[in-house]
């Protein structure tokens, strides 16, 4: 594979090239205490030095002296809100004649910089879910097709990361157009698609030293990971534990608030609702993120199938770590650790697996 090098000062060249391909460029920004993807205005630069500290139920940003732009490991979002927005209109209907029409949406071509390996793994799971069925989701597809992805290899892991154990990180291996490895003074770049390759062609090659440095960084990120999921497929463990007391023990702590499912980059549950104009002349059908932690998720008339938090947590856990295998051929967890950090009471999925496993 060809590796290129771009000094930090020359990064604007890459941005310029990207602007020829994309109407919108999204970059990580520190906003309200977390790193989130946000539009890069022309002339604006990516802010250096931000680094986050994460732990169960904790996330805080620190501004360091480092010149690096991608020192942080993960933010609360992956690509999920971009390809699958929290709330969107599906179609509209006119009262006159009850005629249905799609809601036309034009999706700007978007380049997004700073995507992590776990985010890419999650994206390919969402692809399988939304596009792999007999009824591909057209809205998802439009947004998916509009993306140009610039990934970045993690040089650091957060305390909550465990992508090494799930096999999804810390360096990007698939699903990107371009991947960066950030060094103090610049970037080692590689392409992951034909269009990525064509953009990089003009850049100069990376040298030995730069390549070694970038590889070392990944090793460092690997060595920083303290959490993990067991290497084996968890299906049999979970399936034999469906009636274990462990779920009650978790339910004593779990709030059933749905934060974990919302931040999880692979959770896809949503509900639909009709929003009619007050005068009743037309109505729009919306879908919005839902969670298996709500009552309505398992409601059928007169019964809530999972009325207890214990069964809801079990549903989430079982789906993520066991049933995903049946549905999409692999576990639904990519090791990003978001559900650990963003749980208001700090419930830790890796710890719960360990407990179930008798540790």
């Amino acid at each position: 594979m060809d590796l290129y090098y771009l000094p930090r000062s020359g990064f604007s060249q890459l941005i310029d090239v990207l602007r020829n391909h994309a109407e919108t460029i999204m970059v990580p920004k520190a906003q309200d205490g977390a790193m989130v993807f946000s539009e890069l205005d022309p002339g604006e630069e990516i802010e250096a030095g931000w680094q986050e500290v994460q732990d169960a139920g904790r996330y805080s940003l620190e501004k360091t002296e480092s010149p690096r732009w991608f020192k942080w490991a993960t933010g609360p979002q992956a690509l999920k809100p971009i390809v699958y927005p929290p709330r969107e209109a599906l179609w509209r209907v006119e009262k006159q004649g009850i005629t249905f029409e799609s809601v036309p949406e034009s999706v700007p071509a978007t380049a997004i910089i700073g995507v992590r390996a776990c985010d890419l793994a999650a994206l390919s799971l969402l692809d399988k879910h939304f596009l792999g069925s007999q009824f591909p989701d057209t809205a998802y597809k439009s947004r998916r097709d509009s993306l140009f992805i610039v990934a970045v290899d993690c040089a650091r892991s957060a305390a909550t990361c465990f992508c090494v154990s799930t096999g999804d990180g810390p360096s990007a291996t698939q699903g990107f157009d371009i991947a960066l490895s950030e060094l103090e003074d610049g970037f080692v770049l590689r392409s992951g698609s034909a269009r990525g390759e064509s953009l990089l062609k003009g850049f100069s090659r990376a040298n030995e030293r730069q390549i070694t440095l970038s590889e070392k960084q990944v090793d460092q990120a690997i060595s920083m990971q303290t959490r993990q999921l067991p290497a084996q497929d968890l299906r049999s463990l979970i399936n034999k534990s469906l009636e274990s007391d462990a779920w009650e023990a978790i339910a004593a702590r779990c709030l059933s608030c749905g934060n974990c499912t919302s931040v999880c980059p692979t959770c896809f549950c949503h509900s639909e609702s009709a929003l009619a104009e007050l005068d009743g002349s037309s109505s729009t059908q919306y879908r919005e993120w839902d969670s298996c932690f709500t009552q309505s998720h398992s409601y059928i008339h007169g019964i809530v199938i999972r009325s207890e938090t214990a069964t809801r947590y079990r549903q989430w856990f079982t789906h993520k770590l066991a049933n995903w295998h049946e549905q999409y051929g692999r576990s639904g967890c990519v090791g990003c650790g978001r559900c650990i950090s963003w749980c208001p009471v700090g419930i830790d999925i890796t710890q719960e697996v360990a407990t179930l496993n008798g540790n």
């Binding site: 179609w91 209907v93 004649g97 009824f135 057209t138 949503h270 109505s283 199938i305």
Partner: protein, 280 residues
């Protein structure tokens, strides 16, 4: 710039051709697509369902009860239980609604051909199996004995009483009804539905089709298995909350399955373990 092609969630407009009040709480809507071209492409299997959309209110899964040969008319028997069904109850002939489908895996009618068929429904759930019963009655010669069993709490809960009376007149068809509590005009069994099993003879090659509350299905399946009906020959129609019906919204998951696309009809052998655990 990329723009959306047509969404798989977009319903088609249908018109109410006829509305029949079956009981106080159940009514049948006979529907037909406005777009004739589309109507011609539309095909379905007994046991499949459609998503019906009531203007401005919401979309719900409803089984198709009419015969596949009855197209272009599509019948839905709807029980008024809550928000959307209450609104649908007000629809009149000529009103329009939205429909998309058909979805899901229907009853294994091919497997049942030339075999005995036992249909069991309980509680309020019966619409899904009516399609199978109708299918058999229309093609009576293709099937052996047809046994229909239903258990209700109160005699007044029995929907389509007149139909049971009609069905019982059809050759080689047996009807077993039970109500937990009796009443003056209840000629059938008073007691649990499971007590009826002792009165019938079940040939081992019987294909059983069940629909109703999960508790009731569990109990009946136990009886069937004890009476040496093969697990592979037992089928049940499951219900879960459904928002999209195309395996996207995640609500209808039942273990690893999506009820909307892997079901609603499941072979018992496949879901045996799941069915044993509450809250799955």
């Amino acid at each position: 710039m990329v723009t959306n092609p047509q969404s798989p969630y977009l319903p088609k407009t249908v018109e109410v051709v006829e509305r029949i009040q079956e009981t106080q709480t159940v009514f049948t809507l006979r529907l037909r697509f406005i777009d004739e071209g589309f109507s011609e492409q539309y095909r379905f299997q007994p046991g499949q369902f459609n998503m019906l959309y009531l203007y401005g209110v919401g979309e719900i899964p409803i089984s198709i009860v009419s015969d596949p040969d009855g197209l272009p008319f599509i019948d839905h028997a709807i029980r008024v239980v809550g928000r959307v069904t209450k609104g649908m109850a007000k629809l009149k002939k000529g009103d329009r609604l939205g429909l998309r489908g058909p979805y899901g895996q229907g009853w294994p009618m091919d497997l049942a051909r030339d075999k005995n068929l036992l249909v069991i429904t309980g509680g309020l759930g019966c619409a899904p199996v009516v399609s199978a019963i109708n299918y058999v009655i229309e093609r009576r010669a293709d099937f052996n004995k047809l046994t229909i069993m239903q258990g209700v709490k109160l005699p007044s809960d029995l929907v389509w009483r007149s139909r049971y009376e009609q069905w019982s007149q059809i050759p080689d068809t047996e009807i077993y009804l039970a109500a937990d509590e009796g009443a003056a005009n209840w000629p059938w069994h008073v007691g649990r539905v499971t007590e009826l099993f002792d009165r019938m003879s079940l040939a081992p090659d019987t294909v059983a089709m069940l629909c109703g509350p999960e508790g009731m299905m569990r109990v009946c399946i136990k009886e069937l298995v004890q009476r040496t009906i093969k697990e592979e020959f037992i089928f049940l129609s499951m219900e879960r909350n459904m928002q999209c019906a195309v395996g996207s919204c995640g609500h209808c998951q039942f273990g690893p399955y999506f009820v909307c696309k892997d079901g609603p009809v499941f072979c018992y052998a496949k879901v045996k373990q799941l069915l044993a655990i509450k809250g799955v």
